[in-house]
Symmetry: C2
């Protein structure tokens, strides 16, 4: 996808405000970036159409939702057989406790983020599922002590 319009200062200000608080009213957003509501709304809509703003999501507190046990999982796969890799990927993506999946260059082959209530839930729902997949060679779990940002 090509960028037809380059983003100016105002666009960046709008994006920053909406990243900080997606529920800002258009009126308040306009006031903050120094515009009147009408052109402000037009810019927001243009950013949405262009795909720069991909969506708006409520952030659920992992702790409050009973998912304070966060683990970063490094996975190495055994083979470069494309079928088993595809099986692995589609299986991983479907596990609801797995909230992020990245294919990496070099090692490890994958990084996962997992959010569960406790170690038991982690073991039963995630590790048990993943270690059964034929492609998986090695699983390294790193438990999060504290999240400082993000």
């Amino acid at each position: 996808m090509r960028n037809k319009h380059t983003l100016d200062e105002l666009d960046h200000a709008i994006i920053a405000e909406l990243v900080a608080d997606a529920r800002l009213s258009n009126t308040e957003l306009a006031r903050r970036v120094g515009l009147t509501p009408a052109p402000c709304l037009r810019r927001v809509q243009r950013l949405e159409r262009a795909g720069v703003i991909a969506g708006y999501h409520a952030a659920v507190s992992a702790k409050a939702a009973g998912r304070g046990f966060e683990v970063i999982v490094a996975i190495d796969i055994a083979v470069n057989n494309s079928v088993t890799i595809e099986d692995f990927e589609s299986a991983v993506v479907q596990v609801p406790e797995v909230t992020e999946v990245r294919r990496m260059f070099g090692q490890p082959d994958y990084y996962l983020r997992v959010e569960v209530t406790d170690g038991e839930a982690y073991e039963s729902s995630v590790i048990r599922t993943l270690s059964q997949l034929p492609a998986v060679n090695r699983i390294l779990s790193h438990q999060t002590m504290r999240r400082l940002k993000g």
Copy 2:
């Protein structure tokens, strides 16, 4: 923080809707979960106050925003001197390209997520900043090939 009220079906439905689209109007949200707007709004506000809904954020497409170069950084620190650690943490958190910071149990001591335009930007804005901090012992960069989820 203790949960005074346990969340019922309706709360979970509301959360799911708002995670999918935080800009739903309260009227539409109420309709979808089978409520009238007023009690629906009260529930949303209660969830916000309880910290279950931590906030609402616009999702900026990393690609569209020219931040397609995503790196997971594993950092080990040299000392357990609390002052240098605090310096390190506050310095890391302030770097805008660093979008996530976790303190881990075991090794590595920290996991960072960094989003920049390219390798050059990564080197100059992040590595240069981080490697100058006295607490830092070792930096391991893992470049993301593809994000499959999250």
